[in-house]
């Protein structure tokens, strides 16, 4: 138990740090609304200028409710501590972890989760309100079973995202300036996770490709659990896939870090 206490403290410090800057916190929430509004305008324009009721397998209301829910889930599972890790690698902040009996990985993850708590709480409330509203208007068919599965899939999605973050941060071992790599990775995840639009509108071929990648399990999958699109059986397979991806990426992250650490040269002489 004593061994675990350091990570609880790391969690607590992350939480405290996040509360230190309230304005920053509020702004980051507000700023994530803009892409959503843009999407709504875009799809409204597309639907109202089309003769079809359905476009790419979605009717107007389905599309809008997907976009609203997906945007919020996207925020819910967002990470972004790759910058902190890269900073540690570049400026030698890693040293203090190397010389202390504490695991860097676990420390970072716990401190990140701590800094995420406030956001999780606020975003969850927003999500609940929005889901209740959408459900009462268009009846998404939300059942207690789906809510339970959804609540399982979200932490798993967050973990997948966390490991993607750790893996892409390891590029900092090889490149002194890795922001371009991060932006690339970010765009890739944004695009193929379903955080911007339902990925199945890109066609069967693309979906086949995504089957072999972890990205769609980040946003597309949980969104489709709660909006009733996925049959229950497929949800179970999906959750198993999420676990599998977590295991694979955990191993990958370990390997990358092991090689990276060998290469790590603390700056300054």
């Amino acid at each position: 138990m004593k061994k675990f206490k350091k990570y609880i403290k790391a969690f607590e410090l992350g939480l405290q740090s996040s509360m230190e800057y309230r304005a920053n916190f509020a702004l980051s929430l507000i700023s994530s609304i803009f892409p959503m509004i843009m999407q709504i305008f875009l799809w409204t324009a597309i639907f109202f200028n089309s003769k079809e009721q359905e476009i790419l397998g979605y009717d107007y209301m389905q599309m809008i409710s997907y976009i609203v829910i997906a945007s919020i889930i996207n925020k819910l599972v967002s990470t972004g501590f790759e910058w902190d890790i890269a900073e540690d690698i570049k400026n030698g902040g890693l040293n203090k972890f190397i010389t202390r009996p504490v695991g860097y990985f676990s420390y970072r993850i716990f401190s990140f989760l701590g800094s995420k708590v406030m956001q999780l709480a606020v975003v969850s409330v927003i999500l609940t309100i929005i889901l209740t509203v959408i459900n009462s208007k268009f009846s998404l068919g939300i059942t207690p079973e789906r809510i339970a599965l959804f609540l399982i899939s979200i932490p798993l999605a967050l973990l997948i995202n966390t490991f993607i973050c750790i893996i892409s941060s390891s590029t900092a071992f090889w490149m002194t300036e890795s922001w371009a790599a991060f932006i690339f990775m970010n765009l890739l995840v944004q695009f193929s996770s379903g955080g911007l639009f339902p990925v199945d509108i890109l066609g069967k071929g693309f979906m086949k490709l995504l089957d072999f990648l972890p990205f769609k399990y980040i946003v597309y999958f949980p969104t489709n659990i709660i909006n009733g699109k996925l049959p229950i059986q497929e949800i179970f397979t999906g959750i198993i896939m999420q676990c599998l991806w977590i295991a694979i990426m955990f191993i990958l992250a370990k390997i990358f870090w092991k090689i990276g650490m060998k290469k790590y040269i603390a700056v300054g002489g």
Partner: protein
């Protein structure tokens, strides 16, 4: 007593790139980079015993920090072996990490946005220190360093000196057997420097902690370390007592003379190397063995009304060691 730190033929090379001035060369570098090797630390060997305070002295880029980083397991060496407390540092065993600390004067180890006591408490958890021992150590250390009132202040609002004290406290909570200090007094004013120095000295005497420190300030080394290892260009050029550095330089002495009336400089040249003349003063460097005879002659021949016999200042000895560079001198 057996050595607590044993270093044998430890060596570290870095690779780097070079770029000539100008856009043309930037473009060239985009496609082809010539890899160059810098030997930051050439094979060095030394031993340190428990309770010793050893100073690493050397110009910038001499390899002091690199050596400390290898000894604390931050860097893998290119070749050679080191045993610290019986462990190989770069295997990074947790049992090893629990027994030492490293403080880098230029790097901040505390949480910037939170008060120091939060960071200290994190260290308590990391090192798995129990409550009683933590509270006791903390109150002793904060009292010694006089920072009790500052524990609740955000670290970013502390002055450099106060922050250094907090860093020291953070590094000593788990009562390490070895303390590595990389330029602990850098950027501090003279009084803060002295306080830090006194504290390290006191702590070493109380706890028999082995201290290995690097510094640019001669006062740090003189005040703290009996033994000094001078490194230059990655090689140990001197290992011994600081006050004896000058014995390496063929026992030279400096004679300062004050005359009543002007004396022609060239007349003094036969006594030794003229270091400088000014109005009625002259400074001559000469062999120790000649001092007696030379003084007698000088007093007899010239209108001397005052004279001083001095050692070559330590700073100068060190500077000479620095400039000699590659050629390692005999150990004392």
């Amino acid at each position: 007593m057996s050595a607590i730190i044993e270093v044998k033929d430890l060596c570290k090379e870095f690779s780097y790139y070079e770029k000539d001035v100008g856009l043309k060369n930037s473009v060239k570098n985009l496609f082809l980079r010539k890899k160059l090797i810098k030997k930051a630390v050439k094979p060095i060997s030394f031993e340190i015993e428990q309770g010793e305070v050893v100073g690493f002295l050397g110009p910038n880029g001499a390899g002091k920090t690199t050596t400390l980083k290898m000894l604390s397991g931050i860097l893998y060496p290119t070749s050679g072996t080191a045993k610290v407390l019986g462990y190989t540092p770069w295997e990074r065993k947790n049992e090893f990490k629990r027994q030492f600390s490293i403080v880098m004067g230029q790097k901040n180890q505390l949480w910037w946005d939170l008060p120091a006591n939060e960071s200290l408490y994190l260290n308590k958890c990391i090192y798995e220190i129990d409550d009683n021992s933590y509270n006791e150590t903390l109150s002793t250390l904060t009292e010694l360093l006089d920072v009790k009132d500052l524990l609740k202040v955000q670290v970013r609002r502390l002055s450099l000196g106060e922050r250094m004290k907090m860093e020291l406290i953070a590094s000593l909570l788990h009562k390490p057997k070895i303390l590595f200090l990389d330029e602990p007094t850098i950027g501090l004013d003279i009084i803060s420097q002295k306080k830090i120095r006194d504290f390290i000295s006191y702590y070493n005497k109380e706890h028999k902690t082995t201290v290995l420190l690097t510094s640019h300030y001669m006062a740090d080394i003189e005040g703290l370390c009996k033994r000094t290892i001078v490194i230059n260009h990655g090689e140990i050029v001197y290992d011994g007592e600081l006050s004896k550095v000058n014995e390496v330089f063929d026992n030279k002495k400096i004679i300062k003379l004050q005359f009543e009336s002007p004396v022609e400089t060239h007349l003094l040249e036969k006594f030794g190397k003229i270091r400088g003349t000014e109005d009625l003063k002259a400074t001559i460097e000469m062999e120790k063995s000649n001092v007696r005879a030379n003084i007698m002659e000088l007093l007899g021949r010239f209108p001397v009304n005052d004279f001083n016999i001095e050692d070559i200042p330590i700073e100068e000895g060190i500077a000479m060691l620095y400039s000699k560079g590659g050629k390692a001198l005999e150990k004392v």
